[in-house]
Subunit: 566 residues, 2 copies
């Protein structure tokens, strides 16, 4: 067993190595990979003040790089899912309806009218999702600028049986934010004001359409942090984050939306404005109804405003990246990190060798460690005192290296290195898509069994002849990474092309595998259209029945985000 | 302005003074104050293994010391609230019903039968609340030992329109846990097993009837902490904690039940077992129904099991107590503590001069500081490294003393001193009751205005002739204290005797005052019977209507915990 002496020089050597850390070509790649329609989307939503460059950082939710599949070839969802039939109870939008909406919204720019004219190009960004997997056929996009307008729209649609699709930043991964057929899109992008921020309590009140990055920037001004961070932060909207109960990179530290959201304003299908916009940390006066809307994916109401508790922002941030020889050692390292870093641990991310190789191949970026290891982890600490945090992190690293839990590691010494290390984790999602397409599974699995699924999936593809090194094989590689601290695995099948055989080989097998271990088939991405069929693998019949009861209570006509969720 | 030099010797001096800190007579007082019925209660619930002494620590929820009001004089709630009428739809319990329950539960000790015999003495502990303010008239107490038994009880009661009152440790402060008329008490005390604890993730799965202290002790074995702490921890049950969304002393650090509860098992009125006992930190598969039961106060279902995330327990705990000259300085100190102590701050409690004087008068305990100050604060830090935490706390204290934000202060140097400082805060509740009775208000108020209410209430009683130094005046003093970190004020009117004139002088004025400032009339105590009438001061008509809709959905016969909540 190596002594502490060996560990310390090792750390020092790696630090030196790290100063020569190569600037990644990552930003360039992402810019090149961004398809045309997304740029148009930024134009269409110029009011959101989302600089085109910010969406390039949306590693976890970025569109696929598919130069061989031009935009017009995205299949309509109705074709990809032939079993789905348009619900004939819903009325089709008429010129008369559009007239009502135009008068209500009072501005030409607040509506895209594909009923009285051909507006297919303008509608495309609202019909298609970022993944380029789903495409709806809406003819009308409404962009209200007030809760009252949303209320009147909803009442009209409910009275007239017009189906609607609430839409935030449209950065979801399960097809929840775009229509399936001709549902009217209600886009919240114009409701983008920050209403108040209490600098003592850290409580932010803002419209649902505020971009996550803007909300965080606002909180940062007074030393606070928005308690959610994810790749899509430059494009996604906080209302959508709440509606999908987004998890992201620092849930291990700041907890979920269910704990952080203090109040909500939402519009119900019948136009009722649910005014639950409390700015109090504690309020035990009745059922906490707002919780139903957190993760409700726009199926029982449209979130219009949120009130959220923003914790203190940590001035000291440290990031370490290390290599380990087995998944057993990854678990040991996690246990030690929880114990020793405790209150300053703000991320513990897992990346397997395959994910890092793929990242390297896709980006050309040099990896932080010279030698290869079966597993890598990224640890982030956030605290109020740089010296204390560095000491804790170094003590931890000396311990895990001394005990041979960790084989090798680097610690970032400046902001650029912090970003480079994070890029090795955040860049995986995009890398998986780089060579064609990707099948993504977002799963909660008890920690001891979490990586077994990746091994078994890889074996499955090795044995069924679908995975190989040449163009003959659809599957390039099976990679596993994710939020170790939350038992949340992202299992990705990186492919050269979408192929029904690949899908058949993995579904529903993967869901059965997860169900057997009492995991979740959707840890943080939600149900949307993609997982609707599979909810039974994670929820009992009783729970599904009770959920349907809630849906029926709030949306008896079923007009909200139909064909999805439950 | 004093220099840092002055601050440091001051701290040192106070530390020295602190070592001579007097052992408080607090434990003795509490033992003396515990009324007879409570001791019987401990006998009746011997299965809970709650040592009689533990209830003595229940400062926030302890019974009143009223030697002049013997037990038999606790008025039935039906008399104190003459407007309440028994709902004639509910059937009265018959010998036949009792027969069914006896056969179902299969044990003599699992039922208290006041139908076939006089059992009033045995029933008393289940009919009367700890505050000795409420007393029901149940004739039957059921103590199921499994979820299946609870399910069968509920189905039978629902089918036969028998009203029920779910009951945990019966430590609530708003009359929610005891019957009003003859509702059957379903006591969870026999369902007290810990089912699993994952030492890596910190996830605990346990029966609802587990005592909070036991749950925390179990978590402590592997270096974790139950993310809730309150005075009643020796008696209250975790199911009741969840059902009332208990807040407690360290919400500022660990957040609310809505964020920490990962799964619930609950029995609905029709006997349905809601099996939502997820052990996953992330599970975005449908509406988060369990949230309705958190804070639902047993009105739509009985919680039978919980799954909860327990964070890492901090080995280093520091407590400081200091005096300040104004509420403005209290707010400044809070801002600085948030900034400088950030991730290690685990409590920031406020106590006014009056509350500390009353504590001193009631207990005879010496206060930690020699000179008197208008305000006192108690700060607790919890972290993984003693040296780091001490350094942060000292830097903070030097800063706030140097800036004259804080006038004087002490830091505990050992566990006894930690307990003594905490006693000055936790002992207030009991002290308020020491001289007769107490009117308690548990309010959320925006921080800048929080203490204004105490001043205005005091003025009110100074002007209306109800407060004074002699026995002629019912009101002894008005005190303010509470969880500053959560904007949660406990406003207490310490009285020599209960007097309707006192109540009239304060209600509904206090609720109007809070409503005007968008506060909450019940921050953490819940609604129960006491606040049912006043929910309109904190919730809109729309919200109340939507809540009633939920109640109607789950409990169409209204048999669950009737006459209370909404």
């Amino acid at each position: 067993m190596p002594s502490i002496h060996r560990a310390v020089p090792a750390l020092r050597r790696l630090r030196l190595a790290n100063t020569a850390f190569q600037q990644p070509a990552f930003v360039t790649l992402q810019a090149a990979a961004r398809p045309a329609y997304q740029i148009r989307y930024q134009h269409a939503e110029a009011q959101q003040e989302a600089a085109p460059t910010t969406s390039a950082s949306s590693a976890d939710h970025a569109p696929q790089d598919q130069p061989d599949r031009p935009q017009s070839k995205i299949k309509p969802t109705a074709e990809s899912y032939p079993n789905l039939k348009r619900d004939s109870r819903f009325k089709e939008v008429t010129a008369e309806d559009v007239k009502f909406f135009k008068e209500l919204l009072g501005s030409e720019s607040a509506i895209i009218d594909g009923v009285n004219q051909d507006a297919s190009e303008d509608l495309e960004a609202f019909n298609a999702d970022w993944m380029r997997k789903y495409r709806g056929q809406t003819k009308v996009v409404l962009k209200p600028e007030s809760t009252e307008q949303v209320s009147k729209i909803m009442k009209y649609c409910n009275d007239n049986l017009l189906a609607v699709n609430p839409q935030g930043g449209n950065t979801g991964l399960v097809g929840g934010s775009v229509p399936v057929f001709d549902e009217i899109v209600i886009n919240l992008g114009r409701m983008n004001k920050i209403h108040s921020f209490d600098e003592v309590s850290g409580i932010l009140v803002a419209d649902a359409g505020v971009i996550l990055q803007q909300a965080d920037d606002h909180a940062a001004k007074s030393g606070h942090i928005f308690p959610l961070d994810l790749g899509a932060k430059g494009s996604c909207q906080i209302g959508g984050n709440v509606a999908t109960n987004a998890g992201g990179l620092r849930l291990i530290r700041y907890g979920s939306m269910h704990g952080n959201i203090l109040g909500l304003e939402a519009v119900l299908p019948d136009g009722t404005i649910m005014d639950d916009l409390s700015k109090l940390r504690k309020n035990n006066t009745g059922y906490d109804l707002k919780q139903l809307f957190i993760g409700g994916e726009g199926t029982i109401g449209i979130i219009t405003k949120i009130s959220i508790l923003c914790p203190q922002r940590s001035p000291a941030v440290n990031v370490a990246y290390f290599g380990l020889e087995s998944y057993e050692k990854v678990q040991q390292a996690f246990r030690e990190a929880k114990k020793q870093l405790s209150e300053i641990l703000s991320a513990f991310e897992l990346m397997d060798k395959q994910s890092q190789q793929l990242y390297h191949r896709a980006t050309g970026n040099k990896l932080p460690l010279q030698n290869e290891h079966p597993f890598y982890c990224l640890i982030e600490t956030s605290g109020s005192n740089t010296d204390h945090d560095s000491e804790k992190l170094n003590t931890f690293l000396e311990h895990v290296m001394g005990e041979e839990i960790v084989s090798d590691g680097v610690v970032a010494e400046n902001e650029t290195q912090v970003q480079n290390l994070w890029a090795c984790r955040e860049g995986i999602s995009e890398a998986g898509q780089h060579f064609g397409g990707v099948y993504k599974y977002d799963l909660s699995i008890p920690l001891p069994q979490l990586y077994d699924l990746v091994n078994e999936t890889r074996e499955r593809f090795q044995n069924n002849g679908l995975m190989g090194d040449t163009e003959d094989f659809p599957v390039l590689d099976v990679i596993g990474y994710g939020h170790m601290g939350d038992s949340n695995l992202h299992l990705n099948i990186a492919t050269r092309r979408y192929d029904k055989e690949v899908e058949k080989a993995i579904e529903p097998w993967v869901y059965e595998w997860v169900a057997k271990r009492n995991g979740s088939i959707s840890a943080e991405h939600g149900l949307g259209l993609a997982k609707k069929e599979f909810i039974g693998y994670s929820r009992s019949e009783t729970m599904i029945r009770l959920m349907k009861q809630i849906k029926g209570l709030y949306d008896p006509n079923g007009i909200m985000n139909p064909y999805k969720y439950i």
